[in-house]
Chain length 213, copies 2
Amino acid sequence: MATSEKPSGLPFPTIRRYPIYLRAISLKIARGELYVSSAALARELGIDPVVVRKDLAMAGEPGTPRKGYRAKELIEAINRALGWDNATYAALVGVGSLGHALLGYHGFEDQNLRIVVAFDVNPSVVGTVHHGVRVRAMDEMAKFIPRLKVMLGILTVPNDAAQSCADLLVAAGIRGIWNFTAIQLDVPKEVKVQHVDLAASLAVLSHSIAANA
Amino acid sequence: MATSEKPSGLPFPTIRRYPIYLRAISLKIARGELYVSSAALARELGIDPVVVRKDLAMAGEPGTPRKGYRAKELIEAINRALGWDNATYAALVGVGSLGHALLGYHGFEDQNLRIVVAFDVNPSVVGTVHHGVRVRAMDEMAKFIPRLKVMLGILTVPNDAAQSCADLLVAAGIRGIWNFTAIQLDVPKEVKVQHVDLAASLAVLSHSIAANA
């Protein structure tokens, strides 16, 4: 896979490794280290040193000969490359068990993702606040998504509501959907979808365990 | 991909679709329907009818001509094929923000997964109970995993603790690991691993949105 001048040209495997580097470099900074070398990162993370060197080079930050990269500058460069230098505002749709769990998960903050609003069909949930996020009615989506500059929708509704909720998100101007349902969504091609199907992942795992018994 | 007599021969795409069928059939039963046809399921779920017919046939339940499958028998057959006819007991390792969220998520119960124990290094967390699950010290793993017949470990620890915790799970006799860390685990090949890297999934999504701006 060739590198490209545009940030959009980053290869997917590189993008997927960037969060791992970010956390490892942050730990080094916390320990008082000012510089980080691709060789040390590779050793620590068990990744091929050639891969790490290429990944870091693609972030566009020049390293210092012998010393490696300045740790803080490298973190900023990777965040820029990932589009995380600006916070991404997200809306969560479907405050059921999984939605509620995700509202309570703080790991996304490292990645500059802020869930600023939630939506649900259930009138007894609308108006409640969970982990600081207010739940609004579905028909308020068209108003609040542009007003709050929400770019990303997190879809945690039941499967049979997945496509209709995705349609509402798209109509409200969302740019990407993080899809936690089991449904393959049909959306315009300019809307990006990432699918995390926990039920399917667990199905594959329990089947392999059972088959292996 | 050919079907096989052994349950272990199920193709992965079939396994991944089974939870979707299970939920759709359960809905039909709840509406009072006694029979379900592959054609109706295919139409409803937007999946190719040929694919649905083959998937259902692989569960090993004979259909009734014209009427289709008896809904309840079909659910049981699919559960058997997935190894979900017996509950799988799981241990969660790492009661941080994500671990806590997963303890509070009830969606796994549909798949007959029961989290029966949790482990953490933090002495102030050990002994507490979250959503009915008691947190124990890491050095109790070797005792409790065999005693509670735990087959599956859910790994929600920080990345730098992932491999050492996986090693403890393997030593305690675990058969599969559901890995929510960003680390590629090194485990014996008889231990099955399913990787759900939320940070990487979010990285890919936010990068595509940023690149598309």
